[in-house]
């Protein structure tokens, strides 16, 4: 047992903090929000130059190979600064899966470009009412030289600008993980405005032909790949939530210490300070379960329960901390000239991405049932 973060990881996190704080001043965030796309390309290049896009990409493909845990530490910093970059779809769901499940040729083809910031690959793990990429309703039909994929995926980041989108479909007998070119024939992208304020896309595929070289895995390998992607994505969302919630709570602690009503700082009312203290407890609990899930994945150990628990806490803490932060600010908190609203928008988005707390509590309950029914007779 060791809760220490290695020196390399610490310096990567500090570097990230430096870069992110430069790029996420309120004026910059506002300017990006005026753009058509909510993506700060300069920040992405700065992260690439610092080697931070390659934290979980092997050295052979131009990364630093520090591993998944370090990547979640970067996620936390992204959350703390609400930086407009698609870190989870590109670096976790797509690159992380490619690193572990793609062929050497595919890794050489895609990962160096992701690490140096010249290539973007997004991921489409969710469908309507289905966040589990191991059971997609999208279908794949084997054909000469590859597969033809049909069906719909939703809320995809950067769908119009990426080179490929990683997704899964099934043939009836087996699962297929593929990289789909969003410009291929049979692809329609429909804009979807989501809670964060950004435009994502619905991807409708009608017999989109995917050549064999873009098929990442099939059968049991594809299942393992999507299980990994699902767990890693949930854990990374929880890590972003740690940063988000920590920051919302600190903004609130500071605001209520300065704002006076009835002739005294609001924070000197126990009802107020205790609400913020409860956020502190939530953040600490969320941090611990997230660190546990991230370190298990990092070491390649079974992480299913730990990930479910982390995402349950993620949804609950994101909701509670966000609402407490809003409440304790009064009107200032909802004003779009004050930074808090961005955090609250992200909190809601993350809460409902990759499975809500209620849904995952249900999943965990079923797993507990199966475990005890099999051991008790």
């Amino acid at each position: 047992m060791n809760f220490t973060i290695s020196e390399e990881q610490q310096s990567a996190q500090q570097l990230a903090q430096q870069i992110l704080s430069d790029f996420t001043e309120v004026d910059k965030l506002k300017a990006i929000e005026q753009q058509q796309k909510n993506f700060d390309a300069d920040l992405w290049q700065a992260l690439a130059k610092a080697g931070l896009l390659g934290l979980d990409i092997a050295e052979e493909q131009g990364g630093t190979g520090l591993g998944f845990y370090s990547l979640t530490a970067l996620c936390e910093e992204i959350g703390r600064t609400v930086a407009p970059v698609p870190i989870i779809p590109v670096l976790v769901s797509a690159a992380g899966t490619l690193r572990r499940f793609a062929s050497d040729t595919q890794k050489d083809q895609w990962l160096p470009g992701i690490a140096n910031g010249t290539t973007l690959i997004s991921a489409a793990l969710e469908e309507y009412n289905n966040d589990d990429p191991t059971t997609p309703s999208c279908s794949a039909q084997k054909m000469e030289g590859g597969f033809a994929i049909s069906g719909t995926k939703i809320c995809i980041s950067e769908a119009t600008s990426v080179t490929r989108i990683l997704l899964s479909a099934h043939t009836g007998d087996e699962l297929v993980v593929a990289l789909v070119d969003p410009r291929a024939a049979g692809v329609t992208l429909n804009p979807q405005l989501v809670s964060t304020g950004e435009t994502r896309h619905e991807l409708v595929m009608t017999k989109v032909q995917v050549p064999t070289e873009d098929i990442i895995a099939t059968g049991s390998e594809a299942l393992a790949a999507m299980n990994w992607a699902h767990q890693a994505t949930r854990t990374a969302l929880a890590a972003v939530a740690v940063g988000l919630c920590d920051k919302m709570m600190r903004i609130t602690g500071q605001y209520t210490s300065e704002r006076e009503q009835f002739g005294r700082p609001l924070a000197t009312f126990q009802a107020v300070s205790h609400r913020v203290a409860d956020c502190y407890i939530d953040v600490e609990c969320l941090r611990l379960v997230t660190q546990q899930a991230a370190s298990l994945i990092d070491e390649g150990h079974p992480a299913k329960d730990a990930v479910q628990i982390a995402k349950i806490w993620c949804g609950n803490a994101a909701h509670r901390v966000s609402q407490a932060a809003q409440h304790c600010h009064g009107g200032t908190g909802v004003d779009r000239d004050y930074p808090l609203f961005r955090y609250c928008q992200w909190a809601r988005q993350i809460e409902l991405t990759a499975g809500s707390s209620a849904q995952i509590t249900g999943e965990l309950g079923q797993a507990i049932c199966a475990e005890y029914l099999s051991t008790t007779t």
Partner: protein, 393 residues
């Protein structure tokens, strides 16, 4: 970052678990059915406590000079966790929190008598802090000790002096500076032998456990029983309270309740057919318990790991106390709901589930939210030490 027990730590866990099975003898299981002995103090309890001493299990965390093994906090926690899980009324507050303070501050003769006695499993110490009018605001206590030659004359009343009915000493906080405005700067610590003249007690029966009111009427106590300097008692009290919390909120005791209810629900038929555990609402409660329990485990590990690295962060210690005490209460309810009416059947009555352990546990739940440092005060500490917010009024 690696949040798992090492092979060595797992082996220690297993060793203590096996040993504690031999401590919970059939005689002891019978003895603790007698209300008077539920919290320990019966002859079989005394016998097993002394056996633990003889077998070298007491004082593992103490310095080698005191005959301890200087176990790390992580190892010490593994030990505590297993002992609490076993259900043995091991006097943790004696062994882990008061004795080390006494060892560091008492004179040589008393150190030998008390610390040596604890090491052998022969001495139990009750804690005499609270009074009828001094609870959370402990420093307002009024029991006084006045110097008379080589002795002290003690007068006053303590409330909630748990275990005093069989303890050998009371670890007593008394006012030695008559100026009450000095509050915590006028307190001194004493060890009062419970067979001394002028000491008496009456039982206090609570919702759950039995505790005591203790009375000190012209108790003449030799100065050698004073621990630490005169009027310097407060830092001994706070040092002790910090360690106390680590043995109150351990994971194993509640994890075993969760596992017990899961097993019970997997064996029990649901009226609709199938087993109870197949009902969605049961699964919901069990999953909610499991995700909260995981944090209890991680908080405990993180705290003991941090204590091995250096002093414990104040806000973190308060987070652990508030979260665990409130989650325990929640866990009791969620598990009792699964059991329904069967959850109301008390220990030893026909139909009791898990020997009625949960029917008993909910009764002691609230004590931990206001006791051991009231949760409001802990939240004040979190706001100040963790968030730099101003003091509340």
């Amino acid at each position: 970052m690696n949040i798992e027990l090492t092979a060595q730590q797992k082996a220690l866990q297993q060793e203590v678990r096996e040993y504690m099975k031999t401590v919970m003898t059939p005689e002891l299981l019978e003895e603790i059915k007698i209300p008077e002995f539920k919290e320990g103090g019966g002859p079989e309890f005394r016998k097993q406590y002394a056996r633990m001493g003889a077998d070298g299990w007491i004082g593992l965390s103490w310095s080698k000079a005191l005959g301890g093994k200087e176990l790390s906090h992580v190892e010490q926690y593994i030990f505590t966790d297993e002992v609490v899980r076993s259900g043995f009324a091991y006097p943790f507050l004696t062994t882990e929190s008061t004795t080390p303070v006494i060892a560091a501050n008492a004179n040589a003769e008393i150190r030998e008598e008390v610390v040596g006695g604890v090491k052998q499993g022969k001495v139990v110490i009750a804690i005499g802090y609270s009074e009828p009018n001094a609870g959370t605001d402990l420093a307002s206590l009024k029991t006084k000790a006045e110097r008379d030659g080589d002795d002290w004359i003690i007068n006053g009343q303590k409330m909630w002096t748990s275990l005093a009915n069989y303890a050998d000493y009371v670890w007593l906080a008394a006012r030695t500076d008559p100026d009450e405005s000095k509050k915590h700067k006028g307190l001194t610590m004493f060890l009062v032998p419970t067979n001394i003249e002028g000491f008496s007690l009456t039982p206090v029966h609570t919702l759950g456990v039995r505790t005591n009111a203790t009375y000190y009427s012209d108790v003449r106590l030799p100065d050698k029983y004073r621990v630490g300097e005169v009027n310097e008692g407060w830092k001994l009290i706070t040092g002790q309270l910090n360690i106390e919390r680590l043995s109150l909120f351990t994971h194993g005791q509640v994890d075993s309740l969760y596992q017990g209810v899961c097993e019970w629900a997997a064996e029990t038929d649901a009226p609709q057919g199938g087993k109870l555990i197949e009902q969605p609402w049961v699964q919901h409660n069990l999953a909610t318990v499991k995700s909260g329990l995981e944090v209890v485990k991680l908080i405990c590990w993180k705290q003991v790991w941090a204590m091995d690295q250096g002093p414990l962060n104040m806000a973190d210690a308060s987070v652990a106390k508030v979260y665990s005490s409130e989650f325990f209460v929640e866990l009791y309810r969620l598990l009792l709901e699964v059991m329904g009416q069967a959850g109301t059947i008390a220990t030893d009555s026909k139909g009791a589930v898990l020997k009625g352990k949960l029917e008993f546990r909910w009764r002691v739940g609230p004590v931990l939210t206001f006791g051991g440092g009231a949760n409001e005060v802990q939240r004040d500490i979190i706001a100040m030490a963790g968030l730099w917010m101003p003091r509340t009024r």
